[in-house]
Amino acid sequence: MSAILFELTMSVGLFLISLFLVLRLRKIQLTLHGPSKWTQSLSWVSYAVIGLMLVELLVEQGRAIPWLWYGFLLLLLGLVYGRQEFAPARPAIWAVLPLVLVSLLGDFLALLQPDLYVAWKMNLEMAQGFAVVWLIGMAVLLNRQHKALEKERVARRQEEEQQRALTQRKAELEEEVAERTRQLTRQKEELQQALAELKATQTQLVQLEKLASLGELTAGIAHEIQNPLNFVNNFSEVSGELLVELQEEMQNGQPLPVLVSDLLTDLAQNLQKIQQHGRRADGIVKNMLQHSRSNAGEKQPTDLNALADEYLHLAYHGLRARDNSFNSTLTTHLDPSLPKVAVIPQDLGRVLLNLFNNAFYATREKQKTAGPDFRPEVKVSTCHKNGMVEVRVRDNGNGIPQPVREKMFQPFYTTKPAGQGTGLGLSLTYDIITKGHSGEVEVDTREGEYAEFLVRLPVYE
């Protein structure tokens, strides 16, 4: 009885092993490739295995059945080692192999050498016991391994997830940074453009200031030229009359020598005056051309007295042309022995013009409120002192208050009402004298009484 039980146990064991292995193979297939014809076939095989077991239970004496199992197991072994995809099942094979081998050995002996079988039965059973222990041990080990693998896999997946999240976050941040950078770059470009526009505007304003001063000159110049031209015309005309008279006198019988001599003298004088006034007009035109030419001028030895005198009258007539109720006494104390200075004439002319215009403006402003006894006066003086040539422009206007004094050389600073001054005159003056000509500019003033601008320039050696 125990033999049959024992054999039954063996069969059941083999059945279980087979079933287990088949199901394992199926699972592997499933995870690897999803449902396929393999999984289907393996399902059928598992049913067959169950079927076979049932048959064996019903039919008691099936001694051949264990051999079926062995054969089947051999097939499975072949499958597992033959196909790479079933490789994960190999540890399972190792787990069951000792038990299968022991029972196989037992069955072999039982079949071929029964005596030996009986003699070794105890050993075989012990071996079987060990094999079972091995099986259980392996099962536990494999399970643990599997669990560990699973845990590892889970951990790895989590890590992958984290990594992905990080990468995504990094990409988002980079996008934000890029966006920010774009914004900043755009702002930078806008600012640069604004700066460029401001610089262009500043250049324009400086140019306008120059043009404005040229415009002021034009009225003065027109008047200045008109005078000599009138004389040229008039003296030419009157010379014509004198010639007619002379001719008449010569044609009558007895020309009076005194009269003839007078006429000739006058004619000679007239021609001289025509020449003189012609040259005067010519000089004015030349000056005007010089002033309008571009700034890159060369320094030339210049007589400051002549320059100051000329521009004083130009400024005066220019202002009178615009405001004919304006007048002022012009006083000049020009040192006749003044040495020449190396200057760019049109630049210095601009400086003098600016100083004179400011002086006239100051006296004009005072005139508006000062009453009829106020005599506006602008005085220009030159002298040679300490190796420098000094030009002083003094007006008896309202003087310069302290806060204005501090700012008046700054560009765009003006005390004139809006639209009347660019605020660049003194700034340009300061630049021309100090930076362009290594000179100095000083101011002396008393509020309500006077203002005096002093320009010092090195003597031309």
């Binding site: 008047h223 008109q226 009138n230 007539h317 042309a321 004919n324 007048n327």
Partner: protein, 128 residues
């Protein structure tokens, strides 16, 4: 016929030879006598030194120091009516100057370059 005393006020010196030549016949004939002043102040001094002599004053407007209009005003303060007749001669022919001159009591307003024919005509009229 009495000599007509004319005072010419202009800061340009060459005005003198010009007038003297332009009016040489009249001067030779004893019809006109010209005096020349180079500034408004000089003109006023002369007028004060020779009261009642000058019959006509020809004055430029744009002069340094006292302007011609200022001179006109002052003379008209002392002599409200002709004599002396006062004519302004100026390069600036704008309306404002003209209005002011008339307001201050000028008798005429001539623009440079002077039309001497017209001037001679005017002188004849004054004489009469």
């Amino acid at each position: 016929m009495e000599k007509m005393q004319v005072l010419v006020v202009d800061d340009e010196e060459d005005v003198r030879p010009l007038f003297e030549q332009r009016f040489r016949r009249e001067i030779r004939a004893g019809e006109l006598q010209f005096t020349f002043a180079l500034s408004g102040e000089e003109a006023l001094d002369y007028l004060h030194q020779h009261p009642q002599e000058v019959v006509l004053i020809l004055s430029d407007i744009n002069m340094p120091g006292m302007s011609g209009l200022e001179l006109l005003r002052r003379i008209r303060q002392e002599y409200a009516s002709v004599p002396p007749a006062i004519m302004m001669i100026t390069a600036y022919s704008d309306e404002e100057n003209y209005q002011q001159a008339m307001q201050y009591g000028a008798n005429d307003f001539l623009t440079k370059p002077v039309d001497f024919g017209y001037l001679k005509q005017k002188l004849k009229e004054i004489r009469v």
